[in-house]
Protein backbone atom coordinates (compact mmCIF):
# COMPACT_ATOMS: atom_id res chain seq x y z
CA UNK A 1 0.00 0.00 0.00
CA UNK A 2 2.95 2.30 0.59
CA UNK A 3 3.94 2.12 -3.07
CA UNK A 4 1.87 5.24 -3.80
CA UNK A 5 4.93 7.31 -2.85
CA UNK A 6 6.25 8.83 -6.10
CA UNK A 7 9.37 7.01 -7.09
CA UNK A 8 10.89 9.37 -9.68
CA UNK A 9 13.26 11.19 -7.36
CA UNK A 10 13.68 8.98 -4.36
CA UNK A 11 13.99 5.26 -4.47
CA UNK A 12 10.56 3.81 -3.82
CA UNK A 13 9.94 3.25 -0.17
CA UNK A 14 10.12 -0.34 0.67
CA UNK A 15 6.82 -1.80 1.74
CA UNK A 16 6.39 -2.43 5.41
CA UNK A 17 6.40 -6.18 5.70
CA UNK A 18 6.75 -8.17 8.85
CA UNK A 19 10.45 -8.19 8.25
CA UNK A 20 10.50 -4.94 6.39
CA UNK A 21 13.40 -3.57 4.50
CA UNK A 22 13.84 -5.92 1.57
CA UNK A 23 12.43 -5.41 -1.88
CA UNK A 24 9.40 -7.33 -2.96
CA UNK A 25 10.33 -8.00 -6.57
CA UNK A 26 12.45 -11.04 -5.80
CA UNK A 27 9.86 -12.87 -3.66
CA UNK A 28 7.14 -12.14 -6.18
CA UNK A 29 9.31 -13.58 -8.92
CA UNK A 30 9.98 -16.68 -6.85
CA UNK A 31 6.31 -17.38 -6.23
CA UNK A 32 5.15 -16.29 -9.65
CA UNK A 33 5.30 -19.77 -11.27
CA UNK A 34 3.01 -21.15 -8.57
CA UNK A 35 0.65 -18.21 -8.84
CA UNK A 36 0.41 -18.65 -12.61
CA UNK A 37 -0.02 -22.41 -12.42
CA UNK A 38 -2.70 -22.18 -9.72
CA UNK A 39 -4.30 -19.30 -11.59
CA UNK A 40 -4.63 -21.42 -14.70
CA UNK A 41 -5.24 -24.90 -13.28
CA UNK A 42 -7.57 -23.86 -10.47
CA UNK A 43 -9.25 -20.55 -11.22
CA UNK A 44 -8.98 -20.58 -15.01
CA UNK A 45 -10.30 -24.10 -15.27
CA UNK A 46 -13.12 -23.45 -12.80
CA UNK A 47 -14.17 -20.58 -15.06
CA UNK A 48 -13.82 -22.71 -18.15
CA UNK A 49 -15.81 -25.50 -16.51
CA UNK A 50 -18.64 -23.12 -15.63
CA UNK A 51 -18.58 -21.91 -19.21
CA UNK A 52 -18.86 -25.47 -20.51
CA UNK A 53 -21.72 -26.15 -18.11
CA UNK A 54 -23.71 -23.32 -19.70
CA UNK A 55 -23.37 -24.74 -23.21
CA UNK A 56 -25.55 -27.03 -25.24
CA UNK A 57 -22.82 -29.62 -25.59
CA UNK A 58 -24.04 -33.13 -25.02
CA UNK A 59 -21.71 -35.13 -27.21
CA UNK A 60 -18.08 -35.18 -28.27
CA UNK A 61 -18.64 -32.53 -30.93
CA UNK A 62 -18.43 -28.78 -30.38
CA UNK A 63 -21.06 -26.77 -28.52
CA UNK A 64 -24.43 -26.31 -30.21
CA UNK A 65 -24.78 -22.90 -28.60
CA UNK A 66 -25.40 -21.19 -25.30
CA UNK A 67 -27.87 -23.02 -23.08
CA UNK A 68 -28.08 -20.73 -20.07
CA UNK A 69 -28.90 -22.58 -16.89
CA UNK A 70 -30.74 -25.36 -18.74
CA UNK A 71 -28.25 -28.02 -17.72
CA UNK A 72 -28.61 -27.08 -14.06
CA UNK A 73 -32.39 -27.00 -14.33
CA UNK A 74 -32.36 -30.43 -15.93
CA UNK A 75 -30.22 -31.79 -13.12
CA UNK A 76 -32.35 -30.41 -10.34
CA UNK A 77 -35.51 -31.79 -11.91
CA UNK A 78 -33.92 -35.20 -12.40
CA UNK A 79 -34.84 -37.69 -9.66
CA UNK A 80 -31.58 -39.55 -10.19
CA UNK A 81 -29.54 -36.48 -9.40
CA UNK A 82 -31.65 -35.57 -6.39
CA UNK A 83 -31.09 -39.12 -5.18
CA UNK A 84 -27.33 -38.61 -5.65
CA UNK A 85 -27.41 -35.43 -3.61
CA UNK A 86 -29.42 -37.12 -0.90
CA UNK A 87 -26.90 -39.98 -0.85
CA UNK A 88 -24.05 -37.52 -0.58
CA UNK A 89 -25.71 -35.74 2.32
CA UNK A 90 -26.42 -38.98 4.19
CA UNK A 91 -22.90 -40.22 3.57
CA UNK A 92 -21.32 -36.98 4.73
CA UNK A 93 -23.40 -36.82 7.90
CA UNK A 94 -22.55 -40.43 8.79
CA UNK A 95 -18.89 -40.11 7.92
CA UNK A 96 -18.54 -36.91 9.97
CA UNK A 97 -20.38 -38.16 13.03
CA UNK A 98 -18.59 -41.52 12.89
CA UNK A 99 -15.05 -40.22 12.55
CA UNK A 100 -15.55 -37.43 15.09
CA UNK A 101 -17.04 -39.75 17.71
CA UNK A 102 -14.53 -42.56 17.24
CA UNK A 103 -11.61 -40.19 16.82
CA UNK A 104 -12.53 -38.33 19.97
CA UNK A 105 -13.11 -41.52 21.93
CA UNK A 106 -9.76 -42.99 20.92
CA UNK A 107 -7.92 -39.78 21.70
CA UNK A 108 -9.68 -39.57 25.04
CA UNK A 109 -8.72 -43.15 25.87
CA UNK A 110 -5.11 -42.52 24.90
CA UNK A 111 -4.83 -39.03 26.27
CA UNK A 112 -3.60 -39.91 29.77
CA UNK A 113 -0.37 -41.87 29.43
CA UNK A 114 -1.84 -45.15 28.30
CA UNK A 115 0.57 -48.06 28.24
CA UNK A 116 1.34 -49.05 24.66
CA UNK A 117 0.02 -45.74 23.43
CA UNK A 118 2.26 -45.64 20.39
CA UNK A 119 1.22 -49.15 19.35
CA UNK A 120 -2.49 -48.36 19.61
CA UNK A 121 -1.94 -45.09 17.82
CA UNK A 122 -0.15 -46.85 14.99
CA UNK A 123 -2.90 -49.46 14.68
CA UNK A 124 -5.68 -46.87 14.63
CA UNK A 125 -3.82 -44.73 12.15
CA UNK A 126 -2.56 -47.32 9.67
CA UNK A 127 -5.72 -47.56 7.52
CA UNK A 128 -5.02 -44.00 6.46
CA UNK A 129 -1.92 -45.13 4.59
CA UNK A 130 -3.96 -47.44 2.39
CA UNK A 131 -5.65 -46.23 -0.77
CA UNK A 132 -9.43 -46.28 -1.01
CA UNK A 133 -9.04 -48.62 -3.98
CA UNK A 134 -7.06 -51.15 -1.95
CA UNK A 135 -9.34 -50.96 1.07
CA UNK A 136 -12.28 -51.18 -1.32
CA UNK A 137 -11.07 -54.64 -2.33
CA UNK A 138 -11.40 -56.01 1.18
CA UNK A 139 -14.49 -54.02 2.10
CA UNK A 140 -16.35 -55.25 -0.94
CA UNK A 141 -15.72 -58.72 0.43
CA UNK A 142 -16.66 -57.73 3.98
CA UNK A 143 -19.84 -55.98 2.85
CA UNK A 144 -21.03 -58.92 0.78
CA UNK A 145 -24.81 -58.77 0.73
CA UNK A 146 -25.55 -62.51 0.75
CA UNK A 147 -27.28 -63.68 3.92
CA UNK A 148 -28.04 -66.99 5.63
CA UNK A 149 -26.07 -70.02 4.43
CA UNK A 150 -24.51 -68.21 1.50
CA UNK A 151 -23.41 -65.32 3.68
CA UNK A 152 -19.83 -64.21 3.41
CA UNK A 153 -17.87 -61.36 4.91
CA UNK A 154 -19.35 -59.53 7.88
CA UNK A 155 -22.74 -61.18 7.45
CA UNK A 156 -21.01 -64.54 7.89
CA UNK A 157 -19.21 -63.28 10.97
CA UNK A 158 -22.48 -62.02 12.45
CA UNK A 159 -24.08 -65.38 11.69
CA UNK A 160 -21.38 -67.37 13.40
CA UNK A 161 -21.54 -65.07 16.43
CA UNK A 162 -25.32 -65.65 16.58
CA UNK A 163 -25.93 -62.01 15.76
CA UNK A 164 -28.01 -62.84 12.68
CA UNK A 165 -30.21 -59.80 13.19
CA UNK A 166 -27.20 -57.66 12.24
CA UNK A 167 -27.03 -59.27 8.80
CA UNK A 168 -28.13 -56.82 6.17
CA UNK A 169 -27.86 -56.17 2.44
CA UNK A 170 -25.26 -53.42 3.01
CA UNK A 171 -24.68 -51.15 0.04
CA UNK A 172 -27.31 -52.80 -2.14
CA UNK A 173 -30.16 -51.40 -0.04
CA UNK A 174 -31.92 -48.66 -1.96
CA UNK A 175 -32.67 -46.43 0.99
CA UNK A 176 -29.67 -46.79 3.26
CA UNK A 177 -27.10 -48.48 1.03
CA UNK A 178 -24.91 -45.40 0.90
CA UNK A 179 -24.35 -45.64 4.66
CA UNK A 180 -22.52 -48.93 4.10
CA UNK A 181 -19.94 -46.99 2.09
CA UNK A 182 -19.42 -44.72 5.09
CA UNK A 183 -18.31 -47.72 7.18
CA UNK A 184 -14.96 -48.21 5.41
CA UNK A 185 -14.51 -44.45 5.21
CA UNK A 186 -14.92 -44.20 8.97
CA UNK A 187 -12.52 -47.13 9.37
CA UNK A 188 -9.93 -45.28 7.31
CA UNK A 189 -10.10 -41.81 8.78
CA UNK A 190 -11.07 -42.10 12.44
CA UNK A 191 -7.40 -42.57 13.26
CA UNK A 192 -6.58 -39.30 11.61
CA UNK A 193 -9.23 -37.48 13.63
CA UNK A 194 -7.84 -39.19 16.71
CA UNK A 195 -4.40 -37.81 15.92
CA UNK A 196 -5.88 -34.33 15.61
CA UNK A 197 -7.71 -34.58 18.93
CA UNK A 198 -4.68 -36.08 20.61
CA UNK A 199 -2.67 -33.05 19.57
CA UNK A 200 -5.50 -30.90 20.88
CA UNK A 201 -5.47 -32.65 24.25
CA UNK A 202 -1.72 -32.33 24.51
CA UNK A 203 -2.00 -28.65 23.75
CA UNK A 204 -4.11 -27.98 26.86
CA UNK A 205 -1.80 -26.68 29.58
CA UNK A 206 -1.76 -28.88 32.66
CA UNK A 207 -2.12 -25.76 34.85
CA UNK A 208 -5.54 -25.13 33.35
CA UNK A 209 -6.79 -28.50 34.52
CA UNK A 210 -5.17 -28.09 37.90
CA UNK A 211 -6.75 -24.67 38.33
CA UNK A 212 -10.18 -26.06 37.51
CA UNK A 213 -9.71 -28.92 39.97
CA UNK A 214 -8.60 -26.58 42.72
CA UNK A 215 -11.70 -24.50 42.07
CA UNK A 216 -13.67 -27.65 42.83
CA UNK A 217 -14.85 -28.39 39.32
CA UNK A 218 -16.29 -31.85 38.86
CA UNK A 219 -14.92 -34.03 36.09
CA UNK A 220 -17.88 -33.15 33.89
CA UNK A 221 -17.52 -29.42 34.58
CA UNK A 222 -13.84 -29.69 33.76
CA UNK A 223 -14.72 -31.07 30.35
CA UNK A 224 -17.65 -28.75 29.80
CA UNK A 225 -15.83 -25.52 30.65
CA UNK A 226 -12.15 -26.22 30.06
CA UNK A 227 -11.45 -29.16 27.77
CA UNK A 228 -14.22 -28.86 25.18
CA UNK A 229 -13.65 -25.13 24.53
CA UNK A 230 -9.94 -25.80 24.14
CA UNK A 231 -10.64 -28.59 21.67
CA UNK A 232 -13.14 -26.75 19.53
CA UNK A 233 -10.60 -25.37 17.02
CA UNK A 234 -9.37 -28.94 16.50
CA UNK A 235 -12.92 -30.17 16.04
CA UNK A 236 -13.50 -27.44 13.49
CA UNK A 237 -10.37 -28.43 11.54
CA UNK A 238 -11.50 -32.04 11.60
CA UNK A 239 -14.95 -31.10 10.33
CA UNK A 240 -13.45 -29.06 7.49
CA UNK A 241 -11.01 -31.77 6.46
CA UNK A 242 -13.35 -34.74 6.77
CA UNK A 243 -16.26 -32.76 5.37
CA UNK A 244 -14.49 -31.76 2.21
CA UNK A 245 -13.08 -35.26 1.72
CA UNK A 246 -16.52 -36.67 2.18
CA UNK A 247 -18.09 -34.43 -0.43
CA UNK A 248 -15.54 -35.69 -2.94
CA UNK A 249 -16.22 -39.38 -2.27
CA UNK A 250 -15.55 -41.37 -5.43
CA UNK A 251 -12.77 -43.95 -5.19
CA UNK A 252 -14.45 -46.00 -2.48
CA UNK A 253 -17.71 -46.25 -4.36
CA UNK A 254 -15.93 -47.18 -7.58
CA UNK A 255 -13.98 -49.90 -5.78
CA UNK A 256 -16.81 -51.35 -3.70
CA UNK A 257 -19.97 -50.96 -5.72
CA UNK A 258 -18.75 -49.98 -9.17
CA UNK A 259 -19.67 -46.96 -11.25
CA UNK A 260 -23.05 -48.14 -12.48
CA UNK A 261 -24.54 -49.17 -9.16
CA UNK A 262 -27.62 -47.06 -8.49
CA UNK A 263 -27.89 -47.40 -4.71
CA UNK A 264 -24.48 -45.84 -4.09
CA UNK A 265 -24.68 -43.15 -6.72
CA UNK A 266 -23.28 -39.71 -5.80
CA UNK A 267 -22.60 -36.60 -7.92
CA UNK A 268 -18.95 -37.58 -8.45
CA UNK A 269 -19.80 -40.98 -9.93
CA UNK A 270 -22.51 -39.43 -12.09
CA UNK A 271 -20.04 -36.83 -13.28
CA UNK A 272 -17.66 -39.58 -14.40
CA UNK A 273 -20.40 -41.50 -16.19
CA UNK A 274 -21.60 -38.40 -18.04
CA UNK A 275 -18.00 -37.71 -18.99
CA UNK A 276 -17.51 -41.18 -20.45
CA UNK A 277 -20.74 -40.71 -22.39
CA UNK A 278 -19.34 -37.50 -23.85
CA UNK A 279 -22.01 -35.32 -22.23
CA UNK A 280 -19.49 -32.66 -21.30
CA UNK A 281 -21.99 -29.94 -20.43
CA UNK A 282 -23.83 -32.12 -17.95
CA UNK A 283 -20.57 -33.45 -16.55
CA UNK A 284 -19.28 -29.90 -16.09
CA UNK A 285 -22.53 -28.81 -14.46
CA UNK A 286 -22.28 -31.61 -11.90
CA UNK A 287 -18.67 -30.60 -11.21
CA UNK A 288 -19.73 -27.00 -10.63
CA UNK A 289 -22.49 -28.04 -8.25
CA UNK A 290 -19.98 -30.08 -6.28
CA UNK A 291 -17.69 -27.07 -6.12
CA UNK A 292 -20.51 -24.90 -4.79
CA UNK A 293 -21.33 -27.45 -2.10
CA UNK A 294 -17.69 -27.65 -1.02
CA UNK A 295 -17.41 -23.85 -1.14
CA UNK A 296 -20.21 -23.49 1.40
CA UNK A 297 -17.98 -25.38 3.81
CA UNK A 298 -14.58 -24.03 2.82
CA UNK A 299 -14.98 -20.36 1.98
CA UNK A 300 -16.02 -19.22 5.48
CA UNK A 301 -13.08 -21.19 6.84
CA UNK A 302 -10.62 -19.62 4.40
CA UNK A 303 -11.98 -16.13 5.08
CA UNK A 304 -11.56 -16.55 8.82
CA UNK A 305 -8.05 -17.97 8.34
CA UNK A 306 -7.21 -15.00 6.18
CA UNK A 307 -8.48 -12.57 8.84
CA UNK A 308 -6.44 -14.31 11.51
CA UNK A 309 -3.34 -14.06 9.35
CA UNK A 310 -3.93 -10.36 8.86
CA UNK A 311 -4.30 -9.81 12.57
CA UNK A 312 -1.09 -11.58 13.43
Amino acid sequence: MSSTVPSAVKRPRRPKGRIGGHGWVAPVLLILPTVIVIGVFVYGLIGSNIHTSLQDRHNIGPSQGFAGLDNYRDLFTDDDFIYSLRNLLLYTATFLVGTLCLGFLWAWLLERKARGESLFRAIYLFPMAVSFVASGVVWRWLLNNAEGNRASGLNRLFGSLHLDFLQNPWWTDERWGILAIAVPAIWQLSGYVMALFLAGFRGIPEELREAARIDGASEWQLYRHVIFPQLSPVALSAIIIIGHMSLKVFDLIMAIAGQTNYTTQVPATQMWIEFTRGDYAKSAAIGTILLLIVAILIVPYLVSTYRQERRR
Binding site: L30, I31, F41, V42, Y43, A134, W141, S152, D251
Partner: protein, 289 residues
Protein backbone atom coordinates in the same frame (compact mmCIF):
# COMPACT_ATOMS: atom_id res chain seq x y z
CA UNK B 1 -15.96 -32.72 47.56
CA UNK B 2 -13.70 -30.41 49.51
CA UNK B 3 -15.91 -29.94 52.60
CA UNK B 4 -15.44 -33.45 53.92
CA UNK B 5 -12.34 -34.14 51.94
CA UNK B 6 -10.15 -35.50 54.68
CA UNK B 7 -12.41 -38.11 56.27
CA UNK B 8 -13.76 -39.12 52.87
CA UNK B 9 -10.29 -39.56 51.51
CA UNK B 10 -9.26 -41.78 54.38
CA UNK B 11 -12.46 -43.78 54.40
CA UNK B 12 -12.82 -44.29 50.68
CA UNK B 13 -9.21 -44.93 49.92
CA UNK B 14 -9.62 -48.59 49.09
CA UNK B 15 -12.88 -48.45 47.13
CA UNK B 16 -11.60 -45.37 45.27
CA UNK B 17 -8.52 -47.20 44.16
CA UNK B 18 -10.58 -50.18 43.14
CA UNK B 19 -12.89 -48.10 40.96
CA UNK B 20 -9.87 -46.47 39.41
CA UNK B 21 -8.50 -49.93 38.72
CA UNK B 22 -11.77 -50.93 37.08
CA UNK B 23 -11.70 -47.79 34.96
CA UNK B 24 -8.16 -48.60 33.86
CA UNK B 25 -9.08 -52.16 32.96
CA UNK B 26 -12.11 -50.94 31.07
CA UNK B 27 -9.95 -48.49 29.18
CA UNK B 28 -7.56 -51.19 28.02
CA UNK B 29 -10.38 -53.57 27.17
CA UNK B 30 -11.89 -50.87 24.97
CA UNK B 31 -8.56 -50.01 23.38
CA UNK B 32 -7.92 -53.66 22.57
CA UNK B 33 -11.41 -54.25 21.19
CA UNK B 34 -11.10 -51.21 18.94
CA UNK B 35 -7.65 -52.32 17.82
CA UNK B 36 -9.02 -55.76 16.89
CA UNK B 37 -11.89 -54.22 14.94
CA UNK B 38 -9.49 -51.94 13.06
CA UNK B 39 -7.22 -54.90 12.29
CA UNK B 40 -10.09 -57.12 11.11
CA UNK B 41 -9.87 -56.08 7.44
CA UNK B 42 -6.10 -56.58 7.57
CA UNK B 43 -6.65 -60.13 8.80
CA UNK B 44 -9.07 -60.83 5.97
CA UNK B 45 -6.69 -59.42 3.37
CA UNK B 46 -3.77 -61.44 4.65
CA UNK B 47 -5.59 -64.74 5.13
CA UNK B 48 -7.59 -64.66 1.92
CA UNK B 49 -4.54 -63.78 -0.16
CA UNK B 50 -3.03 -67.17 0.74
CA UNK B 51 -6.11 -69.22 -0.03
CA UNK B 52 -6.44 -71.45 -3.05
CA UNK B 53 -9.31 -70.89 -5.47
CA UNK B 54 -11.43 -73.64 -3.91
CA UNK B 55 -10.73 -72.46 -0.40
CA UNK B 56 -12.10 -68.94 -0.72
CA UNK B 57 -15.69 -70.06 -0.15
CA UNK B 58 -18.26 -68.42 2.14
CA UNK B 59 -18.08 -71.32 4.59
CA UNK B 60 -14.33 -70.84 5.05
CA UNK B 61 -14.56 -67.08 4.89
CA UNK B 62 -13.08 -66.33 8.30
CA UNK B 63 -10.91 -69.40 8.65
CA UNK B 64 -7.21 -69.71 8.07
CA UNK B 65 -6.26 -71.21 4.71
CA UNK B 66 -6.48 -75.01 4.58
CA UNK B 67 -3.28 -74.96 2.56
CA UNK B 68 -1.18 -71.81 2.43
CA UNK B 69 -0.80 -71.10 -1.27
CA UNK B 70 1.07 -68.31 -2.97
CA UNK B 71 -0.64 -68.70 -6.34
CA UNK B 72 -2.84 -65.68 -5.66
CA UNK B 73 0.23 -63.59 -4.98
CA UNK B 74 1.88 -64.58 -8.24
CA UNK B 75 -1.30 -63.92 -10.23
CA UNK B 76 -1.50 -60.48 -8.59
CA UNK B 77 2.17 -59.78 -9.17
CA UNK B 78 1.82 -60.65 -12.86
CA UNK B 79 -0.88 -58.03 -13.23
CA UNK B 80 0.47 -55.35 -10.94
CA UNK B 81 4.23 -55.59 -11.48
CA UNK B 82 4.53 -53.23 -14.45
CA UNK B 83 2.06 -50.79 -12.92
CA UNK B 84 4.10 -50.70 -9.73
CA UNK B 85 7.15 -49.58 -11.68
CA UNK B 86 5.14 -46.86 -13.40
CA UNK B 87 3.74 -45.69 -10.08
CA UNK B 88 7.24 -45.24 -8.67
CA UNK B 89 8.30 -43.41 -11.83
CA UNK B 90 5.39 -41.04 -11.37
CA UNK B 91 5.32 -40.57 -7.61
CA UNK B 92 9.01 -39.91 -6.98
CA UNK B 93 9.45 -36.94 -9.34
CA UNK B 94 5.99 -35.61 -8.54
CA UNK B 95 6.65 -35.51 -4.81
CA UNK B 96 10.17 -34.09 -5.11
CA UNK B 97 9.19 -31.29 -7.49
CA UNK B 98 6.12 -30.20 -5.57
CA UNK B 99 8.03 -30.29 -2.27
CA UNK B 100 10.84 -28.09 -3.54
CA UNK B 101 8.40 -25.58 -5.00
CA UNK B 102 6.31 -25.68 -1.84
CA UNK B 103 9.39 -24.99 0.24
CA UNK B 104 10.29 -21.89 -1.77
CA UNK B 105 6.70 -20.67 -1.67
CA UNK B 106 6.49 -21.26 2.05
CA UNK B 107 9.68 -19.30 2.59
CA UNK B 108 8.47 -16.35 0.55
CA UNK B 109 5.06 -16.34 2.19
CA UNK B 110 6.38 -16.43 5.73
CA UNK B 111 9.87 -14.98 5.90
CA UNK B 112 10.44 -12.88 2.79
CA UNK B 113 7.03 -11.37 2.36
CA UNK B 114 5.64 -9.02 -0.21
CA UNK B 115 2.50 -6.86 -0.23
CA UNK B 116 -0.58 -9.02 -0.58
CA UNK B 117 1.19 -12.18 0.56
CA UNK B 118 -1.76 -13.16 2.75
CA UNK B 119 -4.31 -12.94 -0.01
CA UNK B 120 -2.02 -14.84 -2.39
CA UNK B 121 -1.64 -17.53 0.25
CA UNK B 122 -5.38 -17.79 0.81
CA UNK B 123 -6.01 -18.02 -2.93
CA UNK B 124 -3.41 -20.78 -3.26
CA UNK B 125 -4.89 -22.59 -0.28
CA UNK B 126 -8.32 -22.73 -1.90
CA UNK B 127 -6.82 -25.03 -4.53
CA UNK B 128 -6.34 -27.64 -1.84
CA UNK B 129 -10.03 -28.00 -1.18
CA UNK B 130 -11.61 -27.91 -4.61
CA UNK B 131 -13.28 -31.07 -5.81
CA UNK B 132 -11.28 -31.94 -8.89
CA UNK B 133 -14.52 -32.80 -10.64
CA UNK B 134 -15.04 -29.04 -10.89
CA UNK B 135 -12.07 -28.68 -13.25
CA UNK B 136 -11.89 -32.11 -14.83
CA UNK B 137 -13.72 -31.56 -18.13
CA UNK B 138 -11.62 -28.56 -19.25
CA UNK B 139 -8.52 -30.10 -17.64
CA UNK B 140 -8.68 -33.11 -19.93
CA UNK B 141 -8.90 -30.70 -22.86
CA UNK B 142 -6.07 -28.48 -21.59
CA UNK B 143 -3.70 -31.38 -21.07
CA UNK B 144 -4.55 -32.61 -24.54
CA UNK B 145 -3.87 -29.15 -26.00
CA UNK B 146 -0.58 -28.91 -24.11
CA UNK B 147 0.34 -32.26 -25.64
CA UNK B 148 1.28 -33.94 -22.36
CA UNK B 149 1.19 -37.69 -23.01
CA UNK B 150 -1.35 -39.78 -21.12
CA UNK B 151 -0.08 -41.90 -18.25
CA UNK B 152 3.01 -41.13 -16.18
CA UNK B 153 3.89 -37.68 -17.67
CA UNK B 154 0.36 -36.33 -17.27
CA UNK B 155 0.08 -37.63 -13.75
CA UNK B 156 3.41 -36.08 -12.73
CA UNK B 157 2.23 -32.68 -13.95
CA UNK B 158 -1.13 -33.00 -12.19
CA UNK B 159 0.26 -34.18 -8.88
CA UNK B 160 2.80 -31.37 -8.89
CA UNK B 161 0.23 -28.71 -9.75
CA UNK B 162 -2.52 -29.82 -7.39
CA UNK B 163 -0.01 -30.70 -4.69
CA UNK B 164 1.33 -27.13 -4.53
CA UNK B 165 -1.34 -25.77 -2.15
CA UNK B 166 -0.71 -28.33 0.57
CA UNK B 167 3.07 -28.33 0.24
CA UNK B 168 3.04 -24.53 0.40
CA UNK B 169 0.79 -24.63 3.45
CA UNK B 170 2.90 -27.08 5.41
CA UNK B 171 6.18 -25.32 4.65
CA UNK B 172 4.73 -21.91 5.39
CA UNK B 173 3.48 -23.03 8.78
CA UNK B 174 6.80 -24.68 9.50
CA UNK B 175 8.82 -21.61 8.56
CA UNK B 176 6.48 -19.37 10.54
CA UNK B 177 8.02 -20.96 13.63
CA UNK B 178 11.58 -20.11 12.55
CA UNK B 179 12.89 -17.06 14.47
CA UNK B 180 12.89 -13.89 12.39
CA UNK B 181 16.35 -13.03 13.73
CA UNK B 182 17.93 -15.83 11.68
CA UNK B 183 16.69 -14.31 8.46
CA UNK B 184 17.42 -10.78 9.63
CA UNK B 185 21.01 -11.71 10.47
CA UNK B 186 21.55 -13.10 7.01
CA UNK B 187 20.08 -9.97 5.49
CA UNK B 188 22.33 -7.72 7.55
CA UNK B 189 25.26 -9.75 6.28
CA UNK B 190 24.14 -8.74 2.81
CA UNK B 191 22.69 -12.07 1.72
CA UNK B 192 20.00 -11.83 -0.95
CA UNK B 193 16.80 -13.78 -0.97
CA UNK B 194 18.11 -16.91 -2.66
CA UNK B 195 21.28 -16.96 -0.57
CA UNK B 196 19.22 -16.64 2.60
CA UNK B 197 16.94 -19.42 1.46
CA UNK B 198 19.76 -21.73 0.48
CA UNK B 199 22.07 -21.12 3.42
CA UNK B 200 19.67 -20.41 6.30
CA UNK B 201 16.27 -21.87 5.55
CA UNK B 202 17.01 -24.97 3.51
CA UNK B 203 19.40 -26.55 6.02
CA UNK B 204 16.76 -26.47 8.77
CA UNK B 205 13.94 -27.72 6.56
CA UNK B 206 14.55 -31.45 6.85
CA UNK B 207 11.63 -32.18 9.23
CA UNK B 208 9.19 -30.32 7.01
CA UNK B 209 10.55 -32.07 3.93
CA UNK B 210 9.99 -35.46 5.54
CA UNK B 211 6.36 -34.61 6.18
CA UNK B 212 5.67 -33.05 2.82
CA UNK B 213 7.42 -35.77 0.85
CA UNK B 214 5.48 -38.40 2.77
CA UNK B 215 2.23 -36.60 2.24
CA UNK B 216 2.82 -36.13 -1.47
CA UNK B 217 4.10 -39.66 -1.93
CA UNK B 218 1.06 -41.13 -0.20
CA UNK B 219 -1.54 -39.02 -1.91
CA UNK B 220 -0.04 -39.49 -5.38
CA UNK B 221 0.44 -43.21 -4.77
CA UNK B 222 -3.14 -43.64 -3.60
CA UNK B 223 -4.75 -41.39 -6.19
CA UNK B 224 -7.41 -42.95 -8.33
CA UNK B 225 -9.38 -40.01 -9.73
CA UNK B 226 -6.65 -38.40 -11.83
CA UNK B 227 -5.40 -41.83 -12.84
CA UNK B 228 -8.83 -42.74 -14.13
CA UNK B 229 -9.09 -39.63 -16.29
CA UNK B 230 -5.47 -39.45 -17.43
CA UNK B 231 -4.27 -42.99 -17.92
CA UNK B 232 -5.38 -46.43 -19.04
CA UNK B 233 -4.82 -49.87 -17.60
CA UNK B 234 -1.82 -50.12 -19.93
CA UNK B 235 0.02 -46.98 -18.86
CA UNK B 236 -1.64 -46.23 -15.54
CA UNK B 237 -0.52 -46.52 -11.93
CA UNK B 238 -1.17 -49.35 -9.51
CA UNK B 239 -4.60 -48.14 -8.34
CA UNK B 240 -5.92 -48.52 -11.87
CA UNK B 241 -4.31 -51.95 -12.27
CA UNK B 242 -5.66 -53.07 -8.91
CA UNK B 243 -9.20 -51.96 -9.62
CA UNK B 244 -8.96 -53.70 -12.99
CA UNK B 245 -7.80 -56.90 -11.29
CA UNK B 246 -10.40 -56.73 -8.53
CA UNK B 247 -13.43 -55.82 -10.59
CA UNK B 248 -13.09 -58.62 -13.14
CA UNK B 249 -16.11 -60.80 -13.82
CA UNK B 250 -14.51 -63.78 -12.10
CA UNK B 251 -14.06 -62.80 -8.49
CA UNK B 252 -10.47 -63.87 -7.93
CA UNK B 253 -10.46 -63.02 -4.24
CA UNK B 254 -7.04 -64.36 -3.37
CA UNK B 255 -5.35 -62.44 -6.20
CA UNK B 256 -7.35 -59.29 -5.46
CA UNK B 257 -6.44 -59.33 -1.80
CA UNK B 258 -2.79 -60.10 -2.53
CA UNK B 259 -2.90 -57.24 -5.03
CA UNK B 260 -4.36 -54.86 -2.45
CA UNK B 261 -1.53 -55.77 -0.10
CA UNK B 262 1.12 -55.36 -2.81
CA UNK B 263 -0.32 -51.98 -3.76
CA UNK B 264 -0.25 -50.84 -0.13
CA UNK B 265 3.24 -52.01 0.82
CA UNK B 266 5.16 -48.82 -0.06
CA UNK B 267 2.84 -46.44 1.78
CA UNK B 268 2.57 -48.80 4.75
CA UNK B 269 6.34 -49.04 5.03
CA UNK B 270 6.58 -45.27 4.97
CA UNK B 271 3.95 -45.00 7.70
CA UNK B 272 5.61 -47.56 9.90
CA UNK B 273 9.07 -46.02 9.54
CA UNK B 274 8.14 -42.35 9.61
CA UNK B 275 4.66 -42.30 11.12
CA UNK B 276 5.68 -40.13 14.05
CA UNK B 277 6.87 -37.30 11.81
CA UNK B 278 3.80 -37.66 9.69
CA UNK B 279 1.40 -37.17 12.57
CA UNK B 280 3.39 -34.20 13.78
CA UNK B 281 3.31 -32.64 10.35
CA UNK B 282 -0.38 -33.23 9.85
CA UNK B 283 -0.97 -31.28 12.99
CA UNK B 284 1.22 -28.44 11.85
CA UNK B 285 -0.67 -28.44 8.58
CA UNK B 286 -4.18 -28.77 9.83
CA UNK B 287 -4.54 -27.55 13.37
CA UNK B 288 -2.96 -24.25 12.56
CA UNK B 289 -4.77 -24.09 9.21
Amino acid sequence: MSTDAIPAAVASRVPGQRSRGIARTLKYVLLIIFALVVLLPAYVLFVTSFKGLGDATPANAWKLPQVWETAGWSRAWEQLGPALGRTFAMVIPASIISSVLGSMNGFVLSKWRFPGADIVFTLILFGMFIPYQAVMVPLVQLMGNLGVPSGVPSLIVLHVVYGLPITTLIFRNYYAGVPVELVEAARVDGAGMLRTYASIILPISAPAFVVVLMWQFTSAWNDYLFALFFSTSRNGPVTIALNFLASGQLQDYSASMAGALIASVPTLIIYILLGRYFVGGLMAGSVKG
